[in-house]
Amino acid sequence: MLQIKPILAALKRHKAGTILIALQIALTLAIVCNALFIIQQRLDRIARPTGMIETDLLTLQNRWVGVDDEKTGPLIRADVQAIRQLPGVEDAISINSYPLRGGGWSTGVRTNPDAKKSETHTTQYFVDDHALATMGLKLVAGRNFRSDEIVEMDPKAVVASSQIMVTKTLADKLFPDGSGLGKVVYVDDGTKPSTIIGIVERLEVPWNSSWSDTFLDNAVLLPYQLTGGGTSYMVRSKPGQLAAITKSVPETLYKLNRMRVIPSERGVRTYDVVRAQAYKSDRGMAILMGVVCLVLLAITAAGIVGLTSFWVGQRRKQIGVRRALGATQRDILSYFMTENLLIGVAGVVVGALLAIGMNLWLVTQFEMARLSLVYVAVGVVALLLLGQGAVLAPAMRAARVPPVEATRSV
């Protein structure tokens, strides 16, 4: 630290190199901060729980062929019965959609039927009494549907159900004092009341795009079995039987009735695959940003090594003179380390401003959150350390310049 002023004086005589290193540090900081932030956001999304037990879970998409949409009820019931009786199958349901599938029902909910605007948004899952066991949901209050409560329903004629289960998040949103169980709510803009008979700990909506972020864990379970042209099946296997039923379930369905389409793509998916496909671009983006960060840091470090080595080479003579005038090896080392630190500090100050500016711009252009200053702080420390690390090798080479260098000509 003892030599800041003369170092600054010397740097003033090497403006180009100084500015180039500082600029590189600044730009790298700006990009690395935002990239880290994007990574963290994406990882946060990927880590969101669905509320289900995701192991031993199979999903299928089924579409009926040549049957009127209203007449598919018995076919679906037969399918579910057949699947439940298969060896290796723990339980199974027919459902309109499921978390991370994309595509589903959403509607408003209100506690007062006369209110003009709904209080919050929710998704609707149409299930029977096997849903909790099949999906692996945790009932935290109240009771499950009874089998005698399940009703067949045309999707174009869905009305509110008198009995519903909801997620805890939705119950607490509508009744912040936690007294949701047994209360009446109004779903789907209707005036028909629905009583909350059960509360499940958590269940995500089917979408994972940002538009549903405001009601991510709001779900209503209705005791309806929908008819219609297409349906989803969810099947829970006995432990370790997932691979076996992934083959046996579609085979059984085709054997039961050939007039159906189970798409070759996305028709039969274990839930691991559903999750991987749903978060593919999030994970890819995180990996891409991670790679970009690493390569950027490596290139910046290489740039610092390159330029500092050049400076050391250029200043061998004056290093020798300094050594002759009494500088210890440590003095020389600390000269170059301090010099780099000064450039680094200038770089990170500019870089931090750039990072924040870049983020503000991204916020206006894309649906992105404000950059947390923690990332800037982490980036600043990382780049200063990177600079010190990068300068270490050339600085040590400088420290090893013998004092006798002072007496050599050229």
Partner: protein, 437 residues
């Protein structure tokens, strides 16, 4: 002289292998990152129908009112209700027009041992084929009369024709959709506009080529529900008829307007239509209509994925940093040779010649970086499947123009980066280095 400078450049590359390797890698990585993401961006921001993109228009009519529009920056719903689509079709104000929506019929093969298949399908009017420049291998579109007759006709894609008829001319033959027979009027040649401009609302802009078109009027007769989004601002009521009459929006509408005058006329017509709906008491608000051409519509629907834009931006930043890095390293490399420059100057080299020598040297570095970048771009284009939907990833290709662009960007960028270091090198005084140390 040029050859001599190239030779000098190559020799110099070998002289400082570490510095050279650093520069080549920086340029290679920077260019590769930019080019890879650019390939995706280029594919997603492609103009899918360049000759007609300014003649095809999507009209939007606000049938929900300002309260709902306020939640969407005042924009009308991005699809149309059946009522409005039929109203516009009836008035027939464009040169051509079609309402369309995705349907999901299953094809039942004649061979009973085969399972039913589903292809992506749309219900359209006969005008659609001429509007969208759909190419035909055999036959052609059905007639407008077929629309009016709600005829059981169909246009199929080449892939489906290969599957069902082994590629033979199937015009006039029949296929079975959901148990009903349809007469084939035409087989499309490969038609794969990307983005799928005519329905970004239901496809997010990308997807497999459409293999099946049936008449819109027929699909409505058969009560085929939309296979895409259906949005309602209030409960539609029970059953098909209630839905058809409701304000739920689920239809895409396109019209062809040959010139600016026609477009202006159509805008007036839309306002008039909405005003008429207001007078008749259906709308309780002033006309709120839009008319978007293809590029405007794709932009409005944000078809270019956010990932493509963000990663392109990040990559460009990356390239910028690599260039700053290159400026620094070139400066080091050139100034190391100040004595050589002094001697050259003393021996009669003009400033211009020093410029030429060092810029060409930088160019060789850029070319080497470009070759590395090309290799990495190849790897990157494969890696695109990691980040993007398979539907989008398949569009990113390493073709001749991308190869040429990669090399060009690498060389140009490096030469650009070399200007300052070269200027500094040219400032070295003749033999200044000989005089003192």
């Amino acid at each position: 002289m040029f050859a001599y400078y190239i030779q000098l450049g190559l020799r110099s590359l070998r002289r400082n292998p570490l510095l050279t390797a650093l520069m080549v890698m920086a340029i290679g990585f920077g260019v590769a990152a930019s080019m890879t993401t650019y390939s995706v961006f280029r594919a997603t921001s492609n103009n899918p129908i360049p000759d007609k993109s300014s003649q095809l228009f999507v009209p939007l009519i606000d049938n929900w009112g300002p309260e709902d529009a306020a939640q969407n920056k005042g924009e009308p719903p991005e699809a149309m209700s059946y009522t409005d689509a039929m109203g516009l079709m009836r008035d027939h104000r464009g040169k051509r027009q079609t309402a369309l929506y995705p349907v999901a019929p299953s094809v039942i093969p004649a061979d009973a041992s085969l399972l039913p298949i589903r292809e992506s399908s749309y219900a359209v009017y006969a005008d659609a084929f001429a509007m969208f420049n759909v190419p035909f291998l055999y036959g052609g579109a059905w007639q407008s009369a077929d629309d009016e007759a709600h005829a059981a006709t169909v246009v199929i894609g080449r892939k489906l024709n290969d599957k069902l008829f082994n590629g033979a001319n199937s015009v006039g033959r029949e296929i079975n959709l959901d148990g009903r027979n349809y007469r084939i009027t035409g087989v499309m040649d490969t038609w794969d506009p990307q983005p799928l401009f005519f329905d970004p609302v239901n496809t997010s802009g990308f997807g497999d080529p459409i293999q099946l078109f049936i008449p819109f009027t027929r699909a409505i007769d058969l009560k085929m529900a939309t296979n895409g989004n259906n949005n309602c601002n209030k409960h539609a009521g029970e059953g098909w008829d209630a839905w058809i009459r409701s304000e739920c929006v689920w239809i895409q509408y396109w019209t062809e307007l040959p010139d600016e005058t026609a477009a202006a006329g159509y805008r007036d017509y839309l306002r008039g239509y909405a005003a008429e709906q207001q007078r008749s008491g259906r709308f309780h608000w002033a006309p709120n209509v839009r008319l978007y051409n293809v590029p405007q519509w794709l932009d409005h629907e944000k078809v270019v994925p956010q990932e493509a834009k963000v990663s392109l931006l990040v990559s460009l930043g990356f390239l910028l940093i690599c260039l700053v890095n290159t400026v620094g390293l070139l400066l080091a490399k050139f100034m190391k040779r100040a004595p050589e420059i002094g001697v050259r100057r003393a021996l009669g080299a003009s400033r211009k010649e020093i410029y030429a020598q060092f810029l060409i040297e930088a160019g060789t570095v850029g070319l080497a970086g470009g070759l590395l970048g090309l290799l990495l771009t190849g790897v990157g284009v494969f890696g695109v499947t990691l980040v993007f939907d398979p539907d989008i990833a398949r569009l990113a290709r390493l073709n001749v123009s991308l190869i040429a662009l990669t090399l060009l960007v690498a060389v140009l960028a490096t030469v650009l980066a070399a200007f300052y270091p070269t200027w500094r090198a040219a400032q070295v005084q003749p033999a200044w280095q000989l005089k003192s140390n």
